[in-house]
């Protein structure tokens, strides 16, 4: 079984469009959406949820007013300024470290477990999908990503799948690190812009830091051919395989509006290029 993740550094470069297309092209696979913060893949795959689970993570302090003697030790101890002068914990600032709980002489602090989100196993027209929704303003998306990855892998083993196709998390922090662990190939999607190259470079460094093989795709390359050339020479210099270029194609948004992957849309330009990218990837990974 091979695990492929599509990442981009910054979102909005076509990561989900490409993941959706691969979901349509690959045979015998399981899909996973690791963009738990702003999951979009479900808009293309229209999943029917079969299993729904709570994601519990971390704790938030709460002070019992009846027990509190207002000694102020918790306020002084908390490094996240989460406790107000009148001994109320701000749940958004609280990091759940429990320093206050241990320091309180009156045992007035209780630590409550957070329900930080939900994760699901769903059926789609292309196969099983593991996805999740992080609660608003919750942290630990890295942990939820790791959970989605683990469940997708288990499911793939159970179904004896050949591929796990993963829509990766944006950024270079904990969620993307969790998206990259144990991956056979990370496909980095970038647009031909100065900031696109900058973001791709940062995320490639992260992937390499964790020894994950990378390949690069330039999306909408014809919006700035000069910049695309620059990206090409960047790839050459850094020994990165440029696995394909996709042209700007209005059909991509049109397919999206209809809730279809580009593969299911009667189209030529981008669709054909994406099919070629998948074939190359397939050859490379076999």
């Amino acid at each position: 079984m091979k695990q492929i993740v599509v990442i981009s550094g910054k979102g909005g470069t076509g990561k989900t469009i490409l993941t959706g297309a691969f979901a349509a092209l690959a045979e015998n696979k399981v899909m996973a959406d690791c963009d738990v913060d702003a999951a979009d893949l479900h808009l293309l795959l229209s999943p029917e949820i079969e299993q729904r689970h709570q994601f519990k993570s971390g704790f938030t302090a709460k002070i019992d007013k009846k027990l509190c003697k207002e000694c102020g030790r918790c306020v002084a101890a908390c490094r996240f300024n989460a406790i107000s002068e009148d001994f109320v914990v701000d749940p958004i600032s609280c990091e759940g470290c429990a320093f206050c709980k241990f320091i309180c002489p009156a045992e007035a602090v209780i630590m409550q477990e957070n329900i930080a989100g939900e994760w699901y196993i769903s059926r789609t027209r292309f196969g099983s999908l593991v996805h999740a929704k992080l609660g608003i303003a919750e942290e630990n998306s890295g942990k939820l990503v790791a959970l989605v990855r683990q469940k997708a892998k288990e499911l793939a083993q159970k179904e004896d799948a050949d591929w796990v196709i993963i829509d990766g998390a944006p950024g270079i922090g904990c969620p993307v690190i969790a998206s990259l662990s144990g991956i056979d190939c990370a496909l980095v999607v970038t647009e031909p812009t100065l900031s696109g190259l900058h973001d791709a470079d940062r995320v490639i460094k992260v992937a390499r830091h964790f020894s994950v093989p990378v390949a690069l795709v330039v999306n909408k390359f014809d919006l700035n051919t000069q910049m695309s050339e620059e990206i090409e020479s960047y790839c050459h210099k850094n020994n990165i395989e440029l696995i394909g270029k996709i042209s700007f194609d209005e059909d991509v948004v049109k397919a999206l509006v209809e809730g279809k992957t580009i593969i299911e849309y009667p189209s030529k330009g981008a669709k054909e290029q994406i099919i070629q990218i998948w074939e190359k990837l397939y050859q490379r990974m076999r």
Partner: protein, 277 residues
């Protein structure tokens, strides 16, 4: 006044809006809090005057004093310390720097040492003040760095905060304390889905907000319908124009290439001020 610029996901034009708004106003400061992927500097091209490393305190165990009682492991909520027979293992990437272990160690065997997580760079471009954070590669803890960037906010200026994309902790950390938040989205199913999430965040945080619709002429009508139903003011529409896309791709600014946009961004600011009062 602090105005933050956020979006449910990246790539919607958040940085474009922050940068061009900053360039259209006077007496302004731009703070790029997207410390994982800071980009605003590519467009502003500020002269960096000062680079300040940012640290979090992590525990260091004094083997002479430690008697392996295990108290530190007990108080650490993040499993960043593991005590085995005659050793204490510290996992710096799990540590939140809360200081609990140091305080509670009965043998005073723990001392806090600095671990660098990134840096803040402070600079300016003409009269525009600028600061941003850069998270070190392989580093997972962005909120402490975001907090440090925000400490550079200049209260005598209009402060524009370019927030990271999404709805999780780094975003909250960035927009907390803002007087107004501009959401940037595009009228596609992805854009609308992410916009709804962002709206939920702002309602939860009780920060007033409005929408800038980027690439306003692609996609479908559903975003407009949603905004009308949910009473989300659409403050500005930026059409999908080849000129705009191509100046973005070169790292140039809209207000530089298409001066008529300066007025539009000034109006955006005035509308925000009006929304506030």
């Amino acid at each position: 006044m602090i105005i933050s610029v956020a979006s449910g996901k990246g790539g919607t034009g958040k940085t474009t809006v922050s940068v061009n708004l900053a360039l259209s106003l006077t007496n302004v400061q731009l703070l790029d809090c997207d410390v994982e992927e800071p980009n605003a500097h590519l467009f502003i091209k500020p002269e960096i005057k000062n680079t300040v490393p940012v640290y979090i305190p992590i525990p260091q165990i004094d083997k002479e004093k430690c008697d392996f009682c295990g108290r530190c492991q007990e108080v650490c909520a993040y499993n960043a310390l593991v005590v085995i027979k005659d050793k204490v293992l510290v996992f710096p990437e799990l540590c939140h720097g809360c200081g609990s272990c140091t305080y509670f160690c009965p043998k005073e065997a723990i001392k806090e040492v600095d671990k660098e997580i990134g840096c803040v760079e402070i600079g300016e471009k003409d009269s525009l003040q600028f600061a941003h954070g850069q998270l070190n590669i392989g580093q997972a803890m962005s909120p402490p760095l975001i907090r440090t960037v925000k400490q550079y906010a200049n209260p005598s200026r209009t402060v524009i905060i370019d927030a990271p994309p999404g709805t999780s902790c780094p975003v909250i950390e960035s927009i907390k304390g803002s007087d107004f938040c501009i959401l940037v989205s595009e009228p596609t199913p992805f854009g609308l889905n992410d916009l709804k999430l962002a709206v939920e965040v702002l309602r939860k945080m009780k920060i007033p907000f409005g929408l800038v619709l980027n690439r306003a002429d692609i996609g479908d009508e559903k975003t407009d319908a949603y905004c009308q139903k949910e009473n989300v003011p659409i403050l500005m529409r930026i059409p999908f124009k080849k000129e705009i896309a191509s100046c973005y791709s070169r790292g140039e600014n809209i207000v530089g290439a298409l001066p008529e946009y300066k007025e539009k961004f000034e109006k955006l600011y005035k509308d925000i001020v009006r929304c506030r009062t």
